[in-house]
Amino acid sequence: MKFSLTTTALAGTLALVLGFAAPALADIKIGATLSETGPASFLGDPEAKTLKMLVEEINAAGGVNGEKIDLIVYDDGGDPNKARTFATRLVEDDEVVAVIGGTTTGTSMAIIPVFEDAEIPFISLAGAIEIIDPVRPFTFKTPHTDRMACAKIFEDMKKAGISKIGLISGSDGFGASMRKQCLEIIGEYGIEVLADETYGPTDADMTPQLTNIKGKDGVQAVLNPGFGQGPAIVTRNYAQLTVGLPLYQSHGVASDGFIELAGAEAAEGVRLPGTALLVAGLLPESDPQRAVVVAYKDAYEKATGKPVSTFGGYAHDALRILVDAITRAGSTEPSAIRDAIEGTSGLVGTTGTVTMTAEDHLGLDLSAFRMLQIEKGGWKIVE
């Protein structure tokens, strides 16, 4: 016992000495507050795993500008209050030079003021357009917005000559927000909504709503903004009622899990906007995103044994943007990093090719989305 105590003390002293010697080789401290647990854990968990995996990879390859990255990750459990506490801790105690995170819109909006005040660049991983509109000097984000998904869907409808649609949306946060975004821009595409139905996020049967849409004269297609199990049930009910019109789902269910839940037969012919990551293997060799998404997909699936998700891709892009900015800035001054992030140009990520400007802190255009169709239980790119 005595021996082990002495050893511990010795080790502690050594660590202290080494610790004091360290500042000469200062690491680049990057912070993150993510929702690894809690209701948004299916988003935050792959994000955290991605960051840890990539930082290990970068450090093993010699770091950034010869300096290693020191990643500090906190789990806010999806709670904005906790996120704010961690944000303050990252700024004041950990003295990070940049922060990735805010898994959800709620946590992101809560911590933006902390980083704006401290003038530390912050890259959010949440969907809402409010994060970057209006533009704040130190706030950026990587995921495309719901509005862009709406635009992509409406473009595809217009090409198919569809001008009258039925809408069935989830009443949860995602469904309600996307419905609002879609209705705001639908006029620009000359498309009219003839039926506007909703369902609760835990409902087990949507046939009454779909029967009403089916019964409306003139409906040419149906759009279902939704998230979680709702869209899978809508798709199954849609097949059950043999509605027979094109069905569009949102990017919220762009995953292999959706086909599994809805069943390959019911999901046949469903169209939705998805990212290149989802169809990594289907991208033509000439596609600029192919190399990036295949590399990330393989590395992630090898490291975690789990299928890659769009959400992990957001974290991948955020770190790539940050590392690219630090490399170009040649400095770890937060303000220099901020300027470099804003100067990001033609960076190929998993969600698209990012080109930021002073007015655009997202830097993606509609080409970030691929219009996909489900065929025989798999995906097909249709454009």
């Binding site: 854990s41 909703t198 046939t207 009454p208 029967t211 899978a232």
Partner: protein, 290 residues
């Protein structure tokens, strides 16, 4: 006309799900006056364990059986570890314990299994059955048949078996029941095992329709609870009728008025019924001797 029929079939499908959950509340309530808010968790466990056993390569009936037995075991553990040690506590405290247990089970499931949504195949395929221009999935018939079968068994249990009457006696007066030789501890354990097994069976039947994940229990329990209150807590007939009524009400509101008001309309009717008949449609009148 086909619309009305479709709304009705949808209502019956959803209603049978509610009724199955509501039936699970009956036994524990009858044995102890406790509304077990972990009942939805039993339904979730039934679905989740079946899915993972099935995914591991077991045939579906065997997976379902394992899920039902395992969930019954968890029900017994809940009684032994959480309810029995607090036996002297008032009913309200016991109800709060069940809420705590449901949060614990949800968290444990998230760690043991995962956070994804799952589904296993329907028992007799996905080919919809046409009835007069409307359609219903074969799985809905399974759910309806399951609800009827459980209802019948419960009715037999409470009226025709000695142990069923012992359960009712325990609820009525625990000390008097002990005096006439009823082992009330055994009755409580049995009622938790049976409730959990019924919940798990419900989970097995409804998962192909509703899908399952670690957090579906709460929503199911709330709807099942509303159905049980509407029909009369503790009465299997009330659970069945209450569930179907609630489902049909929701479907009709969604079909004819607006899907936005679906839940609101259902709860307004429940409030109205409880206002006129506080015991629910088939609830037993409680009379206290003064």
């Amino acid at each position: 006309m086909p619309e009305l029929l479709q709304f009705l079939l949808s209502g019956i499908t959803v209603g049978a799900v509610y009724a199955l959950v509501a039936l699970g509340f009956t036994i524990i309530y009858n044995a102890s006056d406790v509304v077990n808010f972990a009942q939805g968790e039993f339904v979730m466990l039934g679905g989740m364990i079946t899915f993972f056993a099935h995914a591991a390569g077991l045939p579906l009936p065997l997976a379902a059986l394992i899920a039902i037995i395992a969930t019954a075991g968890i029900g017994v553990a809940l009684n032994k570890l959480a309810i029995e040690p607090a036996r002297g506590a008032p009913v309200v405290s016991l109800i709060i314990i069940t809420i705590g247990a449901s949060i614990f089970i949800r968290g444990a499931t998230q760690l043991v299994f995962d956070k994804q949504i799952h589904r296993f195949p329907a028992f007799s395929g996905d080919q919809p059955i046409l009835i007069g221009g409307a359609t219903i999935l074969p799985q809905s018939l399974w759910v309806i048949a399951g609800a009827l079968a459980i209802f019948f068994c419960l009715w037999l249990f409470f009226t025709r078996t000695l142990i069923g009457r012992a359960v009712l006696a325990t609820a009525n007066n625990r000390i008097a029941a002990q005096l006439v030789g009823i082992n009330t501890n055994y009755v409580m354990t049995l009622s938790f095992a049976m409730s959990a097994a019924i919940g798990a069976l419900a989970g097995v039947l409804v998962t192909p329709i509703t899908l399952t994940s670690y957090d579906v229990g709460l929503a199911l329990a709330l709807k099942g609870f509303a159905a049980a209150m509407l029909g009369g807590m503790g009465n299997p007939k009330g659970a069945l009728v209450g569930g179907l009524l609630l489902g049909i009400l929701e479907a009709m509101t969604a079909g004819y008025i607006s899907s936005q008001y679906k839940d609101a309309a259902a709860f307004v009717v429940i409030l109205a019924v409880l206002f006129a008949m506080p015991q629910g449609l088939f609830g037993r009148k409680s009379t206290d001797r003064v």
